[in-house]
């Protein structure tokens, strides 16, 4: 633009100052996020073991990774854990939100109770549940003391069932959050639509099934995206609750990556597993963020 040369100092300052001020943040993100991602992607094609090394090995790490039963188990576990976690959180969250939306007395007390676990660290959650689920001193023990001698609740020690204790603790932590999302969605529905449906003679069941729940579609989508990405990133909870055990019963990709990279000295394989985690999350998050940012324009 030819007139720029004629601009006074203040105008010129205003064209480059914002970009200048933004640039440190941008540089940090570009280096520490995208640069690092590229570096890790590169490492996943090298023979790195205990330390990064730069011998190119092509797809070897990925081939090895997919042949590892350890990785297969952690993927299978993630499948069970993520689908149950998402489904149960959504079901509980939606039910609580709909019930709370019925002009409930004491809503102001109940709502924070449902939500407080979200403020806790997964390490705290894990510590509490680990003990609560321990058959020796926790729930099972208490039931026995109360006279229910045949009560058994040893999931956390059971290879086949331990993964469900992870779901239980994670649902405890996050379902209140989903409730809050649905409640916000419900409160955003035009009450005249509800009135119109009632005048049309819709029963409560039909009102929610046919009118309200379809209107909550954006909240469902957000809940799914957030929960899915939390599930894939789950690490702390596993460490605190089960440590990945018993055996490998509760290994997830996040714990797999950590142990291969830092304790088993298989950095190349660890990097390739991290790349796969990133791809999975990107497949969910990128379209979502793209749609959100486009709408806002």
């Amino acid at each position: 633009m030819y007139h720029v040369s004629k601009s006074d100092f203040k105008t010129r300052l205003q064209t480059w100052l914002p970009k200048l001020v933004l640039s440190p943040s941008l540089a940090m993100v570009l280096i520490f996020v995208y640069g690092f991602i590229l570096f890790t992607v590169y490492l996943s094609f090298t023979d790195s073991r205990i330390l990064p090394s730069y011998g190119w090995v092509g797809w070897e790490n990925y081939n090895k990774l997919w042949r590892l039963s350890h990785w297969e188990i952690s993927l299978k576990n993630l499948g069970i854990y993520a689908s149950l976690y998402i489904a149960i959180c959504t079901a509980i969250g939606l039910t609580l939100a709909i019930f709370l939306d019925q002009k409930i007395r004491g809503e102001g007390i109940l709502r924070p109770i449902y939500l407080y676990p979200m403020a806790l660290s997964f390490i705290v959650t894990g510590t509490a549940w680990k003990w609560f689920l321990d058959p020796g001193i926790g729930l099972e023990h208490t039931m026995h003391l109360w006279g229910w001698e045949s009560f058994e609740f040893g999931w956390i020690k059971d290879r086949n069932l331990a993964i469900y204790t992870l779901v239980l603790a994670a649902v405890w932590q996050s379902s209140g959050f989903v409730m809050a999302m649905f409640l916000a969605g419900l409160r955003g529905i035009d009450s005249e639509i509800m009135k119109a449906a009632q005048i049309d003679g819709a029963s409560n069941w039909n009102l929610y099934r046919r009118i309200v729940i379809p209107l909550l579609r954006p909240a469902f989508l957000s809940a799914f995206v957030i929960l899915a990405h939390l599930a894939i990133k789950s690490y702390d909870l596993v460490i605190a609750l089960t440590g990945g055990g018993p055996g490998r019963a509760t290994e997830l990709p996040a714990t797999f990556m950590y142990s291969y990279t830092f304790t088993r000295n298989q950095m190349g394989i660890g990097a390739s597993s991290a790349v796969i985690m990133l791809m999975t999350i990107a497949a969910i998050m990128v379209p979502y963020l793209y749609a959100e940012l486009r709408e806002k324009k």
């Binding site: 933004l22 520490f32 996020v33 019930f99 709370l100 924070p112 806790l120 963020l289």
Partner: protein
């Protein structure tokens, strides 16, 4: 049923009873684990191993709390959680402050000084909050080593600022998007410059969103485990890592009551924030997921 008449959805008496019952049972489900932790953190160990976890303490003691705070074996040293608590404080305060200030400035630029491709840049920043952090662990460990920040609080501050910027920018960007641009234009005509407009016009109206952002960052950074465990195990570890070390330590008798006291200590700062400013906490959660 006078109380029912005003509501938009009519529910029968039995349905309402069922709803209340369900809501109360769920409240119990959420409260129970924490209640048990609190109750058992003030019992002597013998009462836990031999007794009922639901029972109130027969002998009330604050020994476990004192032990968790200052004498319990964390890792190899019998220091209690105290030094790690301060590690966390020293890490959280600057990290929250820096990421919030940067987020505010970024949000201001991205809404009021728009330029070509600004949405794409913001998208890049935003996506960085959602990446699985495993993807950056290896290079980050290297860089911190090169910078001489391995195992130090400064290293963790850097890490949390970098990965916190996305969210703090998101908050301020959404908030400032609703801030009337005419005010910025009026200030420009009045002669205010880039920083003056931010400082004199936008900042005074940014109280609520700053609270939201500070709470979110505080909760996230305080509760972080992965970065702490990866980059600062040892004497520089934050509270969550120390708690995990305390609970997982395999030496000697498992002092459950001390573990609980420690867990509550680790949860206390974020819980307090939640109790004091829960409204803002919820807003932050929402803004991080649903359209602003």
């Amino acid at each position: 049923m006078s109380s029912v008449q005003t509501q938009s959805v009519q529910t029968g008496r039995i349905t309402r009873k069922f709803i209340y019952l369900f809501l109360l049972l769920m409240a119990l489900f959420y409260l129970l684990p924490f209640f048990i932790m609190v109750v058992n953190s003030v019992k002597p160990l013998s009462e836990i191993t031999g007794g009922n976890m639901m029972a109130l303490p027969e002998v009330f003691t604050i020994e476990p709390w004192l032990a968790a705070w200052s004498t319990a074996q964390v890792g190899v040293e019998p220091t209690g959680l105290r030094p790690y608590f301060w590690n966390s404080i020293k890490m959280v305060v600057p990290a929250v402050a820096i990421s919030t200030v940067l987020g505010a400035i970024n949000g201001y630029i991205l809404t009021k000084w728009r330029f070509k491709y600004d949405t794409i840049l913001f998208g890049l920043m935003l996506f960085s909050c959602f990446i699985p952090f495993q993807i950056v662990l290896i290079p980050m460990a290297r860089i911190l080593g090169i910078l001489g920040l391995s195992g130090s609080t400064y290293g963790l501050i850097l890490v949390h600022v970098v990965y916190g910027i996305g969210f703090s920018t998101l908050y301020f960007r959404n908030y400032y998007a609703a801030f009337p641009t005419e005010l910025v234009r009026a200030a420009q005509i009045d002669g205010a410059g880039f920083f003056q407009i931010f400082y004199r016009i936008l900042m005074p109206s940014s109280g609520p969103i700053t609270v939201v952002c500070v709470i979110w960052q505080f909760t996230n950074i305080w509760n972080d485990f992965l970065f702490g465990a990866s980059f600062a195990s040892g004497s520089g570890a934050p509270m969550t890592v120390a708690l995990n070390n305390l609970v997982q330590s395999s030496t000697g008798v498992k002092e459950y009551n001390v573990h609980f006291a420690g867990a509550i200590l680790a949860a206390l700062p974020t819980l307090l924030v939640y109790i004091v400013a829960g409204r803002y906490f919820v807003r932050g959660l929402m803004a991080g997921s649903v359209k602003g």
